[in-house]
């Protein structure tokens, strides 16, 4: 990729202390250890991809950073300071914004109301909503991101999946996110729309935001990522920089690596001729 050089430049200029640093973080629900000894660092202007199969602990990981759950072991620091978030509000106030798979947009509410939800602009002694300003800013921010939504009064539920993702990302960036967590933003999208969303992710990175990109699509991850962390059964199975891995390796690692090889042998034994159709193990 032609952008590899710029990745390296950014890595050189970015500050040494990561914005968010997880050290040996674990989370147990009773006797179930959903996450064990996970370390992760998020730096300004970098995209850290977290990959893993269903149940690998990706959701638990982002819920900890997003403030929905507290961790039970290890240490999480934000801007060098140890933190335990007790609500999403605290996480947001520390500059961490999360765009969830299920979007965190209220479907029946208009685009501008969703854009400013939780951060409404008010004016006057009665704290009346400044509707005109909110519509104007929402339109400007969306246009800046290259999203065209002609009618901001439209309920969000009527937008396409890609548009919704973009509204959510644009919103997070506008409200000063330093770290953006994207939970499988491309999982439910078609090829074109995924492309649009990936472009916004790159735009967010270029704006100096540290991005945690959760996905189980290694192709999407490799297109934009600087750093890759593969989770397996709640543990880190792979933690590597872009320079040290190829797409093929990442795909194999993601698909289960040696386990996949074993499975492929097993399948070959079971049904000769029908094996190896889909070595990437793609489900979407």
């Amino acid at each position: 990729m032609s952008t590899t050089q710029s990745f390296a430049d950014e890595a050189a200029t970015s500050p040494n202390t990561p914005i968010v640093l997880l050290e040996e973080v674990g989370k147990s629900y009773g006797n179930v250890h959903a996450l064990r000894g996970v370390s992760l660092s998020v730096r300004q202007g970098e995209i850290t991809c977290v990959l893993g199969d269903n149940g690998a602990g990706k959701s638990t990981l982002i819920k900890i950073v997003a403030g929905l759950h507290d961790y039970t072991s290890g240490r999480m620091s934000v801007n060098g300071e140890e933190r335990h978030f007790s609500s999403p509000r605290e996480s947001l106030d520390s500059g961490i914004a999360t765009v969830y798979q299920d979007l965190a947009l209220a479907p029946l509410m208009s685009v501008w109301r969703n854009f400013f939800l939780g951060n409404e602009l008010t004016k006057g002694p009665f704290k009346q909503l400044d509707v005109a300003a909110m519509k104007r800013i929402a339109q400007e921010e969306l246009t800046k991101m290259g999203i065209s939504i002609p009618n901001l009064e439209q309920p969000v539920g009527k937008l396409s999946g890609g548009q919704k993702q973009c509204v959510a990302i644009a919103r997070a960036i506008h409200f000063g996110a330093k770290v953006l967590i994207l939970d499988e933003p491309t999982a439910a999208l078609g090829v074109n729309q995924s492309g649009v969303v990936l472009k916004y992710i790159v735009k967010a990175r270029d704006a100096g935001i540290g991005v945690i990109f959760i996905t189980h699509n290694p192709h999407h991850a490799y297109l934009v990522g600087n750093h890759f962390v593969v989770l397996k059964l709640g543990r880190v199975a792979l933690d590597t920089h872009r320079a040290d891995i190829t797409l093929e390796q990442l795909t194999t690692e993601m698909a289960g690596g040696s386990e996949l090889e074993a499975l492929s042998h097993e399948l070959r034994d079971l049904a000769p001729g029908a094996q190896d159709e889909n070595p990437a193990g793609e489900k979407e």
Binding site: L108, M109, G118
Partner: protein
């Protein structure tokens, strides 16, 4: 989508500007307004006394009795919850004020204040229990409904030995309180009960709060998608508990009206079934039962429809027994009209 990235134009020519008509039709209360107009015309033709301007005050009074409570019930429904205890909570409020003031021989206003505290506390309890347990509001408030109903009857029986509270009409402060909650005045020959004025005021304030303030935005959000609202930092629990407390506040107000309009006596069995009338008004007014969508003004129009039908049936000379049947038909028609109008407006 691809073309929209390369040309970040401010306008998209694929979408034509929506006509004023289509925009009007997409308002949640439009179905109820159409329904109200149809019913008005119907009874103007079918019931001669309906045309008498002097009866307008009576019709509005009937509407206001439901309408005041329809305001918080509509807000609560938009916030995604129900309150089945709203009907008997009104009675609880009236009884609390009456019994407390009578038993301790206090100024009426002391009873009024205590009733306010109790009513808001009942609302807060509903909201707190709901948030604490995660049970559906239908179940939680059904429980409160029976509790309040039982307490109303039992406490009244214990204190007065009858099914109604003792009259407080000769006690200090009664006159002033009656003037606030249950007086009336003449306006151009029409007798206007003060609750109608209060009703209009409440609707105006609540509509403003819902559409033009941060709290209003949050109410839509917690009803539309509570998880999404929480994730962007909306205090979902506080908003929902606040909504239940608002229902409590309005139950207090309506309870005071009930107490002072009946010369300081409240029947302990009253209020059962009223909760459904409030819900009907809100639903007819375009509130979605599932939350996230609706209008306070619509709820007021729903209450107006209720008032018109209630008296229209009588004025038309029909047996009043038919009223409930008529109401049920209205509810179904209104919800279907809402559905059709909304889908048509969205298709434009």
């Amino acid at each position: 989508m691809a073309s929209t990235i390369t040309s970040p134009a401010t306008a998209d020519d694929r979408v034509a500007a929506r006509s004023v008509g289509a925009r009007l039709l997409s308002r949640p209360e439009i179905g109820s307004l159409v329904g109200a107009a149809v019913i008005l015309v119907f009874f103007l033709i079918a019931a001669p006394p309906f045309r008498d301007i002097n009866n307008t005050g009576t019709i509005l009074y009937g509407a206001a009795l439901i309408g005041v409570m329809a305001v918080p019930v509509a807000l609560l429904m938009i916030g995604g919850e129900f309150d089945l205890s709203a009907g008997v909570a009104v009675t609880t409020s009236g009884l609390t004020a009456g019994i407390f003031a009578y038993q301790l021989s206090l100024n009426v206003w002391a009873g009024i204040l205590l009733a306010l505290v109790v009513s808001v506390a009942v609302g807060a309890f509903n909201g707190w229990l709901l948030m604490r347990t995660g049970l559906p509001s239908f179940l939680v408030t059904l429980g409160t409904f029976f509790i309040l109903q039982g307490v109303n009857l039992a406490v009244t029986r214990l204190t007065s030995g009858a099914v109604a509270s003792n009259s407080i009409s000769d006690m200090d402060g009664f006159g002033a309180a009656k003037a606030v909650f249950a007086s009336e005045f003449k306006l151009g020959g029409i007798t206007i009960k003060i609750i109608i004025v209060w009703w209009i005021l409440f609707v105006a304030i609540a509509a403003w709060v819902l559409l033009k303030t941060q709290i209003g935005n949050w109410i839509f959000a917690v009803g539309g998608d509570a998880a999404a609202a929480r994730a962007v930092g909306v205090p979902v629990k506080k908003v929902k508990i606040g909504l239940f407390m608002t229902v409590g506040f309005f139950a207090w107000f309506t309870g005071m009206q009930l107490l002072f309009v009946q010369n300081g006596v409240v029947q302990s069995g009253e209020g059962v079934g009223k909760e459904f009338l409030y819900i009907i008004a809100a639903v007819v007014g375009g509130c979605l039962l599932t939350g996230g969508y609706g209008s306070v003004v619509g709820g007021a129009v729903g209450a107006l429809i209720f008032g018109m039908v209630q008296l229209g049936v009588v004025y038309a000379g029909w047996n009043a027994d038919w009223f409930k049947a008529f109401l049920g038909v209205m509810l179904l028609l209104a919800t279907i009209v809402n559905l059709v109008v909304r889908s048509k407006a969205e298709a434009r």
